[in-house]
Structures are given as structure tokens and as C-alpha cells.
């Protein structure tokens, strides 16, 4: 009797925890759509008439193809903002990419320089730190090798720095090759909700895990905090945490015309590797414990939840059906079984909102989303959730084994096919 009671209590606690996770996910995903005022708050401020800042843009590259790098560089060179320099950051052991980088630098000597990282263990933060030492302008920005920036992006980022007196501005990144694979659609939408909504919710709560692309930091501040953490797999998130604890002003801005376009990992194993790296990075950041320096208990709780929620969310997707199955086969009382179904409500509502968001994604980026795409989105959800859960478990396994080797994502350049003439151009008003 007491064993049954204990088991029931356990099932109830798990169900309530899953419900809380699902509601929190729903809250973060839909934050930007709560009311029209939120949408205004989360968009860019208007353009200033004078340029207030100069930019050093770091473009970290490793094993890249020339056409991919060339496209990324072209978008940076085409920026309407006049005061910019571009530093292509490469590793000395990657001779082919080093060669391409030098070739490109020779083509545009006025704007482009090359930074070669010679450290023994290679990873993105070390390359970034090496490049940082070469930067000369007031704001440092990072653009991944496979990303296409919008023409007026720097001009708008400059205005945000000026009008909002920001220390850090996080712009938005959007994966766009949604038609390529079954997982790329979900992956694209994930980026959409992350930059359109979730980051803004985190920003409002005062604790932001920064992204690694299209992020802009004042150079003095970045140098003062010692640049990126060279041993962290989520150097971007870590920087956000450290700057949050210093109470620096981080502004997140979104406008569909100004997103930086990127591609999804080119294979499922690539996606799993990328996700594992991120999860592992978040675990590292969590273990480092910088977030404990936040001033109030409330802030620390939010930080704890933000860092953990990624993993919870990944696992909740597979835990909910398991909990339900356990409750049904375990012959628990009806009420207990019904409670295990409760987390399904926010989960399925989230999926329903995903459909609305996919519609908005198509509208913003002028893609014709078909009925088949909506179907793929819904049908792919459980599978994608399993991929995320697998990556999270893989990360946990590596974390326990202290295996922090950098698993790089390969880029095939498939996003370039989506940039038809005009598609990448910001709409003129």
C-alpha cells in the first residue's frame, strides 16, 4: 500500500516538473507575441543620421570552402556603414583556409586582414581571442564563416549602440535552408523562435546567454574582461553570463529584414555534433559557476533555470510519453494517470503556435510555405525532439568523462541557394 502511494507521489512529482518545463518553454517561445507592445519593444530603434561607432568584424573560419567564405565576406564588405574592418581568423594547421584567407585579404587590402592562431589545441574562442588582439575599432562583431549579413545591419547596430547606450548588442541569425532535410525545417524554426522571442524574454529577465554570431561588443569592455574563455565550448553563452553578472547593458534587437542568414548543419550527425557541443558548453558554463555571482536570489534562480532549461526541454519531449506509459501500465489511480497527461497540454499548444510561427517565418522571409511544410513541421516534431534528447544525453556523457574536444560543424553552402537576387536585400521603405 505504502509502496503504491510512494510510486504515485513520485509519478505526480515528475509530471508536475514536466508540466513546469513545458509551460516555461511555451512562455519563452511565445513571449514576443504576447501583445503588440512586446513586438515594438523587441524591434530595432530608428536609424540615427550620424555614424557613432566603428566596427571590427571577426570572421572565424576553419576548413571552409572558398565560395562560402567569399559570400560571407562580400556581405560584410557591402555594408552601408562606412567605418569597418574585417579580420579573417584562421588556425595555422588549416593551410588551405589560411591560403584562401590571404588571397581574399590581398583582393581587399583596405578592409581585410588575416589573423592566424598558432595555439596547439584549436577551437573557436582561441581563434577569436587572437583576432581580438588585432582589432582597432570601437566595436567588435563576430560573423561565422557561413553567414550572410544584411546590408544595413551595421548601420542599425550602430544606432542601437547610440540610442540605447548599449555595451553589447545581439543581432538575430536565421537559418534559411528549410527545405533541404526533414530536420532543417525544425532547425530553422528553432532559430526563429530563439531570436524572435526567447532571447527577448531572457533579456527582460536580465540574464542572456549570448549567441556566437552577429554579436557586437564594445572592444574596451571585451578586452577588459579578457576576451572569450579559451577552454569553453559555449564561449558565446559564457561571455553573456559574465557580462550579465557585471550588469552590463545587453540589448537584443530583431527585425526580419536585418537577420544574418545561415545554413543548418549539412547532415544529421553534424546536427547532433553541434547540439552536443552547445549542450556541453552550457553544462560547462553552469559548472564554471560565474552565474552564482549574480546579485539577487531571484536572478540566480533565473540564471539556473535558463542554463538548465535547454537540457530539461530536450529531455522533456521523451520523458512525457514515458511518464504517461508508466502511469497507464503501472495501474495507477485514474487521477494520477490524468495528471501525467497534463504536460501534453502546454507541449501541444507550443506545437500549434509553431505552426503560426512558421507562417510568420515564411511571410518575413518571403518563402512560400506549403501545406506539406506544415505537415513536415508537425510530423517531424517527435523525431527532432528525440535528436535533441540524444544530443543532450551525449553531452552529459562527455561532461562526466571530461571530454571537451571541439566538434566543428561542416558547412556546404546550401544557404546560398536560398539567397536569390533580392531575397537577401533588406526591404526598402
Amino acid at each position: 500500500m505504502s509502496a503504491t502511494l510512494l510510486a504515485s507521489a513520485l509519478v505526480l512529482i515528475i509530471a508536475v516538473a514536466l508540466f513546469a518545463i513545458a509551460v516555461s518553454t511555451l512562455y519563452l517561445n511565445t513571449y514576443a507575441w504576447w501583445d503588440p507592445k512586446t513586438q515594438v519593444r523587441t524591434s530595432y530603434s530608428g536609424l540615427q543620421s550620424r555614424e557613432g561607432h566603428s566596427f571590427s568584424l571577426i570572421m572565424p573560419c576553419r576548413n571552409e570552402r572558398e565560395e562560402v567564405m567569399r559570400a560571407t565576406l562580400a556581405a560584410l564588405l557591402a555594408q552601408t556603414h562606412s567605418r569597418k574592418e574585417i579580420i579573417i581568423s584562421v588556425g595555422h594547421d588549416d593551410t588551405e583556409t589560411v591560403e584562401i584567407a590571404h588571397r581574399l585579404a590581398r583582393e581587399f587590402p583596405a578592409f581585410v586582414r588575416v589573423s592566424v592562431d598558432v595555439s596547439e589545441r584549436k577551437n573557436k574562442p582561441r581563434q577569436l581571442n587572437k583576432a581580438l588582439s588585432l582589432c582597432r575599432n570601437s566595436v567588435v562583431g563576430v560573423f561565422d564563416a557561413e553567414s550572410i549579413a544584411a546590408e544595413e545591419l551595421l548601420a542599425h547596430i550602430d544606432s542601437v549602440f547610440t540610442t540605447k547606450n548599449a555595451d553589447v548588442v545581439q543581432g538575430a541569425v536565421q537559418l534559411i535552408n528549410y527545405k533541404d532535410t526533414w530536420y532543417s525545417l525544425r532547425n530553422c524554426l528553432e532559430y526563429f523562435t530563439w531570436f524572435r522571442s526567447r532571447l527577448h524574454a531572457h533579456s527582460r529577465q536580465g540574464f542572456i546567454p549570448l549567441g556566437g554570431n552577429t554579436v557586437f561588443i564594445k572592444r574596451e569592455l571585451l578586452t577588459a574582461v579578457g576576451g572569450w574563455d579559451g577552454s569553453c565550448l559555449a564561449e558565446d553563452c559564457d561571455l553573456g553570463v559574465r557580462l550579465s553578472t557585471l550588469r552590463r547593458k545587453i540589448v537584443v534587437a530583431y527585425s526580419p529584414q536585418l537577420v544574418t542568414r545561415e545554413e543548418t548543419p549539412d547532415s544529421l550527425s553534424g546536427l547532433i555534433r553541434q547540439r552536443t557541443r552547445w549542450s556541453l558548453g552550457f553544462m560547462q558554463v553552469f559548472a564554471k559557476g560565474d552565474w552564482k555571482a549574480l546579485p539577487s536570489r531571484r536572478m540566480r534562480t533565473i540564471a539556473w533555470w535558463t542554463l538548465m532549461q535547454q537540457h530539461f526541454m530536450a529531455l522533456a519531449g521523451i520523458c512525457i510519453p514515458i511518464a504517461i506509459a508508466a502511469a497507464i501500465w503501472g495501474k495507477f489511480p485514474l487521477v494520477v494517470t490524468l495528471v501525467t497527461f497534463l504536460p501534453l497540454i502546454p507541449t501541444l499548444v507550443t506545437v500549434a503556435f509553431d505552426v503560426c510561427m512558421l507562417h510568420e517565418f515564411g511571410r518575413d522571409h518571403k518563402f512560400a510555405i506549403s501545406w506539406y511544410d506544415y505537415f513536415r513541421l508537425i510530423a517531424g516534431t517527435p523525431l527532432y525532439q528525440m535528436v535533441l534528447a540524444f544530443a543532450a544525453l551525449r553531452a552529459l556523457f562527455k561532461f562526466v568523462r571530461r571530454d571537451f574536444a571541439w566538434e566543428k560543424t561542416d558547412h556546404s553552402g546550401s544557404h546560398l541557394a536560398y539567397l536569390l537576387p533580392g531575397a537577401a536585400e533588406p526591404a526598402r521603405h
Partner: protein, 540 residues
């Protein structure tokens, strides 16, 4: 690059900004008279009106609560089912999906308190009526704020609630333990949230959840679904509208799905040979239950039901129906027409079974329609007065005089008399005498048939066994009887007969009870209540 104020904002964000600006400006879309009504920024007069209406509703609802009207069998059913919830089941007998259980689960969550405080003259059914009065007061308050959300002026929103509180129809039904009374405040809250003028997504998701709770409390309230959806959508298009509609439908739909889900988990979703099922219950309620005839057929039970409602308050019903047509003149009020029309459709066109409490759901909407129509008329008077400045005062005075006169004509002859009866009459004394006599004179081991209105109070006074103290319908309608009482009707020793018993024997086809009653003698009489002893005991 030297442009000034070049905006890359998408149309959605730009529209959002316009809304944000509109919200701070005095004239906001969705309201005709200034800023949108919000509980967070309540003007003084709203506070005063709300306080006064709350007190009035509470006093009128509580006064002589257990004296009148007389306890009905359905009230006893839900009381006993609420007590069953306390002990972990949904009903003292087999739960057969007659209604979704959330209504009496809510009663169960609250009724321990009045019982603990000893309210209700020591009876459980009387104490449980206090729970209903909480819901009545909540409905009255919600009615006011829904009226305000529908852009009514303060006096007319207050008038709406006053109609609701004072109408004898509403006051009689609103004191009784009916599931409709539990569902109505949730329905009104759903309307309040759906009409949220801030276009806030969460309010609209909340509206879906509240509507699901209302329907899970009493399924007939689902008839207001189309009007509610219209309340949500029937506004100038806004950027998040698809999110609002999707959130409303999915949250509400998923919560509603828990009802069939719970049936499925008990393996009672579909019909089967040896168990009750949701399918059978629905088929019974919608198709097989003896119909009420058409409304145009004199003497049909539908026509009788209607005349019963009209007996209690023909004024509110007639005025509300007329006002519903006037409501078509204002955009915000049109949903009231839809609500009342969709409610009336099955009454006018249908032939199926119609429960007497069905009317409870529409009373708030009739009151709202009256309030809205008066508000619309007042707007007309104001427009007329602006055109002819000299006539302002006489026009206004005339309007107020006409309104007051019609209210007095409505209330004085009928309302006053009926409300006074309700607040002073003692209609349950015979019920109580019959119950006390049984408690004092019948052995706790003898099998008794009792109407549901006193079943729980009797059973809990010493029988404590649902198959010794048996509710009147159960020998014929619950298959469990054959197992518990293999001797059939011959095991029954006592039958308590109240005003509803003979009618139920006919309408529900209670042959065992009928046989037992034919073989019994009348032992005691208390007004319309009698106690019978079965005189043909088993031959063993």
C-alpha cells in the same frame, strides 16, 4: 548613409506600435467611450458600483437560502456526488457519464467549509447551497465587468447586474445546486478574457481554458462556443490574431479532451456489454432520452417548460429577446445576439430532451442584452441632444423617466411578490419533517428508498450504505442493484415519496419501484411528502 528615421520595421511591428500608441490615447479601438476597461485601473465609480453590487448579490443570495425554493432531487444528486468525491469516487452509485464531473468536483473543493461551519440548518444539502451562492455572486460581479468590456456605461452595466440579481427566474435557479450555476461564472470569465482589449495573447488562451472548464462543468454551455469565438475574432484585424485563435482553440480543446480521455482510461469510452460508457451516455442524452416535443405543440413538455420559465420571469425573457435585436446596432454587442440566438435555436427547432435548468446559461446574456440595448438607446438620445442643444435636458429626463417607469412596471407586480416569497417562505419544512421521521423511526438495517433530495442526509445519518439507503431511481437504473439486492423489490421495506417521485416513476420507467409502491401502505404524511411501508415482505 545620412537618412533620418528610416524604419526597417515589418508591417506587423509597425501595426503593433500603432496599437501601443492607440492604447495610451483616449480613444482605443474596441471601446467607444474612452480607455479600455481594465480591472487594474479601476475608476472610483466602478469600484463603488462593484462593491454595492457584490453586497446586494450576496445578501439576496444568502437570505433565507435554505427556506426557499424547495430542495430538488438534482440538488441532492450533486450534493451526494460532491461528497463521493471526498472519498475518492465520482458518485455514490455507478458513474455513467450523465455529465462531466468537473462541476461537482468544484463543489467538493468548497463544500467542506460550510459543512464545517454548520451552515444549512445541519443538513448537507443546505450547507452545499452556500457554495452555489459563491458562484452566484461571482456571476453577478463578472456580469458587470463583462458589460463594461462591452463598452457599456457604468449605470447601465450596473443595471445589467441588478436585473440578474433581482429577476425571480435568476434568483430562484441561482440558489439551487445545479451544475449550470457552477459553469456560468467560468463562461462569463471566458467572455471577459476573450474581449480583453489589450489583444493580449495570454488572455485569449485563458479564455479557451475557462470555456473548457465551463463546458466540463455543464456540457450544455458549449452552445455559447460560437458566440465566444466571435467575441474573440470580431474586431479589426490585429497582427497576432492567428496566434490568439490558435491558442484559444488548442488550449480549450486539449483541456476538453481530458473528459473522453478519462473515459478511455477507464475503458468506458465506447459502448460495451458489461459496462457504462460515454458513448451510451451521449446517445441517451442526445438521441434516446424521451424528447420534450416541439415548442409549438400545446401541452408538450417543451411548451410546459417554456411556460414555467415565463411564469418566473416573462419580463426579462421578453425584454431580453427584444433587446438582442437592438444589440445588432452596435458592433461590440452583436455577440450577444449570436449568444441568445444560438441558445434559442434548440428550443425553437429541436424536439429532443430539454432540461429545466437549460435556461440558467442564457440569463446573464438576456441581462447583458437589456443593459446594452439601454446603453445603445442612450447613445441615440445623446446624439439627438447634440443636434438640438435646446432639448438636451428634456431628452435626458424623458429617457430616464421612461426607463424608470418601465423598470417599475416590470418589477413591482411580479418581481416584488416572487422575490418576497423567496426571501421569506419556508418551503422545506415538510421535507425536513419526513426526513426526521425516517431518522427517528426506521431501523438502520432496513432497506429504504429515498428521493435524492434527502438521500445523502439520510444515508450519512447511520445507514452509510448506498444499497441499504437507496436513491429512488437506482433499483431500476443501476445494474449493481441486482448484485447487491438479489431479492429484487421484495427486499425494499420503506419508500419515501416526495413531489417528484410519481412523475419520475412514469418518465424513467421505474417498474421495480412502482411494484414496491403498489404493495405498500402509507404510514405517515407531511404535506406533499409521504412515507410508505412495503407490506408484502419476502416469503422466506
Amino acid at each position: 548613409m545620412a537618412t533620418t528615421e528610416l524604419k526597417p520595421d515589418p508591417p506587423a511591428a509597425a501595426a503593433g506600435e500603432r496599437n501601443a500608441r492607440a492604447a495610451s490615447a483616449p480613444k482605443h479601438r474596441g471601446t467607444a467611450h474612452g480607455a479600455p476597461f481594465s480591472l487594474r485601473y479601476l475608476p472610483l465609480w466602478d469600484k463603488i458600483a462593484l462593491a454595492a453590487l457584490t453586497v446586494t448579490a450576496a445578501v439576496l443570495s444568502l437570505w433565507n437560502l435554505d427556506g426557499a425554493p424547495s430542495y430538488q432531487d438534482d440538488e441532492g444528486t450533486y450534493t451526494s456526488q460532491a461528497f463521493a468525491v471526498h472519498s475518492g469516487t465520482l458518485a455514490p452509485y455507478t458513474y455513467w457519464y450523465d455529465h462531466p464531473p468537473l462541476g461537482w468536483i468544484q463543489i467538493a473543493a468548497l463544500n467542506w467549509l460550510p459543512n464545517l461551519l454548520g451552515l444549512g440548518d445541519g443538513t448537507t444539502i443546505g450547507a452545499t447551497r452556500y457554495v452555489i451562492s459563491v458562484y452566484f455572486v461571482a456571476s453577478a460581479v463578472l456580469l458587470y465587468i463583462v458589460g463594461r468590456r462591452l463598452t457599456m456605461r457604468i449605470p447601465f452595466a450596473a443595471l445589467t447586474t441588478v436585473l440578474f440579481i433581482l429577476s425571480p427566474l435568476s434568483l430562484v435557479l441561482g440558489r439551487q445546486i445545479y451544475l449550470d450555476n457552477i459553469g456560468v461564472p467560468w463562461l462569463l470569465l471566458a467572455f471577459y478574457l476573450a474581449l480583453s482589449s489589450r489583444n493580449a495573447l495570454w488572455h485569449h488562451v485563458g479564455a479557451g481554458i475557462c470555456f473548457a472548464i465551463a463546458v466540463l462543468s455543464k456540457e450544455t454551455l458549449s452552445i455559447f462556443g460560437p458566440a465566444l469565438l466571435l467575441a474573440l475574432m470580431y474586431r479589426p484585424k490585429w497582427s497576432n490574431r492567428s496566434f490568439s485563435v490558435v491558442g484559444f482553440l488548442t488550449a480549450g480543446g486539449l483541456l476538453l479532451a481530458f473528459y473522453p480521455l478519462s473515459a478511455l482510461l477507464r475503458n468506458e469510452l465506447l459502448s460495451g456489454p458489461d459496462h457504462v460508457s460515454l458513448q451510451d451516455a451521449l446517445a441517451y442524452q442526445l438521441l434516446n432520452r424521451s424528447g420534450s416535443g416541439t415548442i409549438f405543440e400545446a401541452g408538450s413538455s417543451r411548451a410546459e417548460l417554456l411556460s414555467g420559465w415565463l411564469y418566473f420571469d416573462k419580463y426579462l425573457i421578453a425584454a431580453g429577446l427584444a433587446a438582442a435585436v437592438v444589440c445588432l446596432l452596435r458592433r461590440q454587442s452583436r455577440i450577444l445576439f449570436i449568444a441568445i440566438a444560438s441558445f434559442a435555436t434548440p428550443i425553437v427547432l429541436g424536439q429532443g430532451y430539454l432540461p429545466a435548468m437549460y435556461i440558467i446559461g442564457v440569463i446573464p446574456f438576456l441581462a447583458l442584452a437589456c443593459g446594452s440595448a439601454v446603453d445603445i438607446a442612450w447613445s441615440g438620445v445623446e446624439r439627438l441632444a447634440r443636434r438640438t442643444p435646446g432639448l438636451t435636458r428634456p431628452l435626458r429626463t424623458g429617457f430616464v423617466a421612461a426607463l424608470s417607469a418601465s423598470l417599475l412596471l416590470m418589477s413591482l407586480p411580479q418581481w416584488f411578490e416572487q422575490d418576497r416569497t423567496l426571501l421569506t417562505a419556508q418551503t422545506n419544512s415538510n421535507w425536513r419533517s419526513a426526513m426526521t421521521w425516517v431518522q427517528d423511526n426506521v431501523s438502520r438495517s432496513e432497506v429504504v428508498l429515498a428521493p435524492y433530495s434527502m438521500w445523502h442526509d439520510l444515508n450519512s445519518s447511520g445507514w452509510n450504505n448506498a444499497w441499504t439507503m437507496i436513491a429512488t431511481e437506482k433499483p431500476d437504473l443501476d445494474k449493481q442493484f441486482d448484485i447487491e439486492r438479489p431479492g429484487g423489490w421484495r427486499e425494499i421495506r420503506w419508500i419515501i415519496v416526495g413531489p417528484s417521485v410519481m412523475a419520475n416513476i412514469d418518465s424513467l420507467g421505474l417498474t421495480r419501484v412502482k411494484t414496491a409502491l403498489q404493495n405498500s401502505e402509507q404510514v405517515q404524511t407531511f404535506g406533499e411528502w409521504t412515507v410508505h411501508r412495503v407490506i408484502n415482505p419476502p416469503s422466506n
